[in-house]
Structure formats: structure tokens, C-alpha cells
């Protein structure tokens, strides 16, 4: 079943064409990687899916709803979650409070004022803290965590909301090889419940965890298919040998 359909999306920034008639389909419960050289349009495509930018032309259909012009908060409420390229945790709140804030977004304002939801969600938050190796940092300010832990916290903030579609923009940026391997292990279990679109420069990492890949170059799709198909694609090899 198709969860996300991007149809002929076009995006210009002034005279620069960042995306040129890009169409991508993503099936539910699969991991889909977006790869390509710098400036190929990967992050722009992710921004258009998340609602940070709006497409000039084309449409974005998520879970049978046209979300092309909807705001980020409505997309988030429909089950879309984004991890930013530059870590966007709340640095002056504790690790626990970052997760609490993330998980409570669907609560009514009245429930938030009466603080009724806090106790109910505690176990879920503790599970996430354990899973993402943050349990012993629960009361630490998020801004005081190491870069790797901040990245994990932000992934945890996205995952804990149980989104239908999770968008990760360079989740292993600035991580050591060991941390990258651990990040892959943390992500694999969510496949049962969640679809993932991931932008990443580390090709080994993305090949290990993704089912399908889409390769972009200069705002256009070079090729799309399974990891094995992309490995053998001559068009992709050409891009990576001539442009990277």
C-alpha cells in the first residue's frame, strides 16, 4: 500500500530550480533512502514533504490526503514526523521534558492545563529513554548532551509520537562509526509500525537499513528502485563517478 505519493513536484528558489518534476512513491512500512550529491535536492524534497517549503507545482499525497498546501502542524497531526538536519532539540529543557513535550502534542489544551496526561505517558517515555540509551540522562538538560546523544534524542522525539511516516534528515551527521552502527540498530525495530524516509550521505549506512532508494541529481530523479537495483544502475554510477 502506498503511504506517500509525490507527483511531479517542482520547486524554484529564485532562478535556481531545486526540484524539477520529481515523482516518488513510498510504500507503507518500508525504509526509503534519498541519496545524491550535495545540492541535488534531497533536503528540499524532505522539506516539501514536511511542510517547511511548499511546492510550486505538483502534489504531495500522504495517506490518501492531499497535503500539498497544509501547514507543518497539520501534517504532524496527520502522522508525519521530521528530524531536522541541524539538531533541533529544546536545549534548556531536560531530556525527559523534551520527550514529554513531543508526545503530548495531540493532547487537548485543557488536558495540558490540567496536566492529566503527564502520569499516563510516563511509562512510554521511560521505555523510549531506555531504548535510546538516554535513561541515565533523563534529568540532564538536552543542551548538555553530547552531539550523538542529541541526535538520538531528536530521533526519539520523532519515534515516540508513533508517526506513520518518519522523515530523517542526516540522522548520523557528526557521529562516529560506532554511533552510526548503533543508530541503525535503533531504527530497525520501528519498521513494523512506521515508514521511514531518510536523507543520508553515508552510503554504507543507508544501504544497510533501506529497502528502496531514490537517487537525485541537480533536482531531478536519476533512478529509483531497490538497493540492489540502484547498486547495479549505470545512471547512478555515472553520477557518482563524474559528480562526486
Amino acid at each position: 500500500m502506498k503511504l506517500l505519493e509525490i507527483n511531479k513536484v517542482r520547486k524554484n528558489f529564485g532562478v535556481l530550480c531545486a526540484l524539477d518534476d520529481v515523482s516518488v512513491s513510498v510504500n507503507a512500512n518500508t525504509f526509503h533512502g534519498l541519496i545524491g550529491p550535495n545540492g541535488s535536492g534531497k533536503s528540499t524534497l524532505l522539506s516539501i514533504i514536511a511542510g517547511a517549503h511548499y511546492a510550486d507545482n505538483g502534489s504531495v499525497v500522504f495517506d490518501k490526503n492531499d497535503i500539498t498546501k497544509t501547514s507543518p502542524e497539520i501534517r504532524a497531526r496527520k502522522g508525519l514526523s521530521l528530524k531536522f538536519q541541524i539538531t533541533a532539540i529544546l536545549p534548556e529543557l531536560s531530556t525527559y521534558d523534551n520527550l514529554l513535550l513531543s508526545i503530548q502534542s495531540s493532547q487537548s489544551i485543557w488536558k495540558l492545563i490540567s496536566s492529566k496526561s503527564k502520569g499516563i505517558l510516563h511509562d512510554k517515555i521511560m521505555d523510549a529513554l531506555e531504548r535510546f540509551k538516554l535513561a541515565d540522562r533523563a534529568d540532564t538538560l538536552a543542551g548538555e548532551l553530547s552531539h550523538g546523544l542529541q541526535q538520538w534524542l531528536e530521533i526519539a522525539m520523532s519515534v515516540i509520537r508513533e508517526p506513520k511516516l518518519l522523515l530523517l534528515d542526516e540522522p548520523t551527521g557528526g557521529m562516529s562509526p560506532e554511533e552510526r552502527r548503533a543508530t541503525g540498530e535503533l531504527l530497525m525495530p520501528i519498521k513494523k509500525t512506521c515508514t521511514l524516509i531518510i536523507v543520508e550521505h553515508d552510503l554504507d549506512f543507508i544501504k544497510d537499513i533501506c529497502d528502496n532508494l531514490t537517487v537525485l541529481d541537480q533536482g531531478k530523479i536519476v533512478d529509483t528502485g531497490t538497493v540492489e537495483q540502484i547498486k547495479l544502475s549505470k545512471k547512478v554510477q555515472e553520477v557518482y563517478t563524474t559528480r562526486v
Binding site: E73, Q104, I109, D136, D139
Partner: protein, 357 residues
């Protein structure tokens, strides 16, 4: 009782920082609030009552700027409008009952702030901070000019209220009774505001202050939260304005314009924004300095300059205000999800630190 966190989840640094200053300051201020009229003259009681009303007003600004990140330069608009409303009720209808004056002030403040929030905050796109600052400033200035030229509302001379506030037939003159009514209302406003900013709603506000864009991507309607705080703060400012008009027996265009709006910003910044207590300390400090300097012959002409220099030094060199000298940033922001450990947890922490499991 269910524990929300195990002791071993608390980092060493946070255990060291678990000593809290705010409750101590709260108790000291509460005691001062209760006993002040017993130790000061009737004249000073009236001066301090005015300070209490300004404290309510300053809390309303702190909710906007200190907690929701809304830079409002027109907070006096709600204060002044409510003051004019109760003055008109008193002069045109002869209505001065306390039980009616308080809700009138709150409702007028709420309605005006709701209309402004509708225009400034609830548009299609999230407004820039400067747009809100200039929008509120302009609204306050326009209202000040409007009433200054409105003869029916006293024009540039403002309006005097000749009747004292009443409960039934009993008159409440400015003095000890008015003090305790104002003190009670300040306490209620403080406690309700404290409850709000420490609830999970307050957690959302803390998130908005740090990165409102991030909150949007989590699914929060940021502008709706801001509008709620703006209206709540407008209602509080309205309450303060209604009390002020009856306490002073007068309301003028200056009570809804730029000067008072600037003062309330200074109360917040000088005392320490984002604490609720800071603005109270700001009012006490600024009004006391003003009162003292203006009474000394040598400073009579220069006290605004001196006050300005003192304010400038604090605001520039201590952005967290006076309260920032004793309250850590961590305590200021607070914790929303974890209940602090009890004594038994302390023992287990000690065991873990000694390597004994």
C-alpha cells in the same frame, strides 16, 4: 505513591542544583505582603497598594514576554481601557460595586486583547516578533490619542472617579482594606499564573520560547497557544487597570499609552522576566527607587536620569534581572515531568555513588 523517576536517573550536577531559591523568595514576599500595613503609615500603605496593583499588571507582561515570547509594547492598552470602562461605569451609571468592577476589568481586558490577538497573532502566517511589538505599540498609541481627544471620556484631562469603591453600602477607601483586597487579588493572580506556567501547558510555552518552529513540527498550533496567553494576560492587565482607576480615583490617557507600557517592560526586565516573581521585585525596586529619589532635594530634577542609568546597567549587564543573581537558569525554566526525589532516593543515590548496589 508512584515515583516519576528513579533516583539513579538524576545526574550528579542536577542533584547539586536541586536547592531551590524561588520558594524561599515566595515565602519572604508573602510574609511581607501580610504584615506591611502593620508597620507603615497610612500614606505609605496607599503607596504600597499602588505597587501591588502594578505588580498584577507586571505579571500580565511577564506571562506574555517571559513565558510565551510575545514582545508586547502595548500592555497598558488593556490596563487603561479597563480603567476607563470602570470610570465610565462609576461616573455615568453610578456603579462602583467591587463585585462588578473586578469582572468588568477582566472582561474589558480580555475582549481588547482578544481583538488584538485576532489581528496580530492568528493570521495565516506566523508573525515576526517585530510585527507584534510594533502592532501592540501602535494600538496603544492610537488608543491614547483617541481618548485624549474624546471629550465624553474626559479628553486630555482624563476622568476622576468621585465615589469610593463599595461592597453594598460599605465604602472602601484607599488604605488598609484596599491594600488587603489588592494583596488578595495579587496572590490569586500569582497562584493561577504559577499553576498555568508550571502545568504541561507551561511546558509547551517553554518549548515555544526556545524554538517555536520545532513546536510546529511536533504538531502544536503555536499561535493558538500564544493567543491564549495574550488574552489571559490582557484579562489580568484589565483587572489591574480597574483596581488602579478606583484606587487613584482617576484615569487618564497616560494610563494606556507608551509610557506605562514601557514601564511594565522595565519592571519585567529589571526584576527578571520569565519568573513571575521577577516583575514583582521589579515593581518594588523601581517604584521604591523612584519614590526615594524624587523625595531627595538634590535629585528632584535628575531622578529620572539616575533611574534610567540604573535600569540600563541591570538590563544590559544582567539580562536575567535582579532575580537572576540568586535563581539559576535551570530553576527559572523548571522541570515539568519529573517529581523530585524523596529522602529514600537520596540514600540510594549515595549507595550508587559509593559503588554499593
Amino acid at each position: 505513591m508512584k515515583q516519576f523517576i528513579n533516583s539513579n536517573l538524576l545526574s550528579k550536577e542536577n542533584r547539586r542544583n536541586s536547592f531551590r531559591v524561588i520558594p524561599i523568595v515566595e515565602i519572604i514576599l508573602l510574609l511581607l505582603l501580610l504584615v506591611t500595613p502593620l508597620f507603615v503609615s497610612d500614606f505609605l500603605t496607599i503607596i504600597v497598594t499602588r505597587m501591588l496593583i502594578l505588580c498584577i499588571f507586571a505579571i500580565s507582561f511577564d506571562l506574555c514576554w517571559g513565558f510565551a515570547g510575545i514582545l508586547t509594547f502595548g500592555q497598558a492598552l488593556f490596563f487603561g481601557m479597563a480603567g476607563y470602562a470602570v470610570a465610565l461605569f462609576a461616573n455615568k451609571l453610578g456603579f462602583v460595586q467591587l463585585w462588578g468592577i473586578i469582572p468588568i476589568g477582566i472582561i474589558v481586558g480580555f475582549i481588547i486583547s482578544f481583538l488584538l490577538a485576532w489581528f496580530l497573532l492568528l493570521g495565516k502566517r506566523a508573525p515576526e516578533i517585530i510585527f507584534i511589538a510594533l502592532g501592540t505599540l501602535t494600538a496603544g498609541y492610537a488608543a491614547e490619542r483617541l481618548v485624549a481627544g474624546w471629550y465624553w471620556a474626559g479628553g486630555g484631562n482624563g476622568m476622576s472617579i468621585y465615589d469610593f469603591l463599595k461592597v453594598g453600602q460599605f465604602e472602601i477607601e484607599p488604605g488598609v482594606l484596599f491594600y488587603y483586597i489588592s494583596a488578595s487579588l495579587l496572590l490569586i493572580v500569582y497562584l493561577v499564573s504559577r499553576y498555568l506556567v508550571r502545568s504541561q501547558f507551561g511546558l509547551v510555552l517553554a518549548g515555544i520560547r526556545q524554538n517555536e518552529n520545532r513546536l510546529s513540527y511536533l504538531g502544536y498550533k503555536v499561535q493558538t497557544y500564544k493567543a491564549i496567553v495574550f488574552c489571559f494576560s490582557g484579562a489580568i492587565a484589565g483587572l489591574a487597570g480597574a483596581l488602579y482607576a478606583h484606587h487613584e480615583g482617576f484615569i487618564g490617557p497616560g494610563s494606556m499609552g507608551i509610557v506605562l507600557s514601557t514601564y511594565v517592560v522595565l519592571y519585567g526586565l529589571f526584576g527578571g522576566a520569565g519568573t513571575l516573581l521577577g516583575p514583582i521585585i521589579g515593581v518594588i525596586a523601581i517604584e521604591s527607587i523612584k519614590f526615594t529619589l524624587s523625595d531627595i532635594d538634590a535629585f528632584k530634577s535628575y531622578w529620572p536620569v539616575l533611574l534610567g542609568i540604573i535600569l540600563l546597567v541591570v538590563v544590559v549587564y544582567k539580562p536575567t534581572g535582579l532575580l537572576g543573581f540568586i535563581v539559576s537558569q535551570r530553576e527559572r525554566i523548571g522541570s515539568f515531568g519529573l517529581i523530585r526525589r524523596d529522602v529514600s532516593d537520596d540514600k540510594s543515590i549515595q549507595k550508587n555513588e559509593n559503588g554499593v548496589s
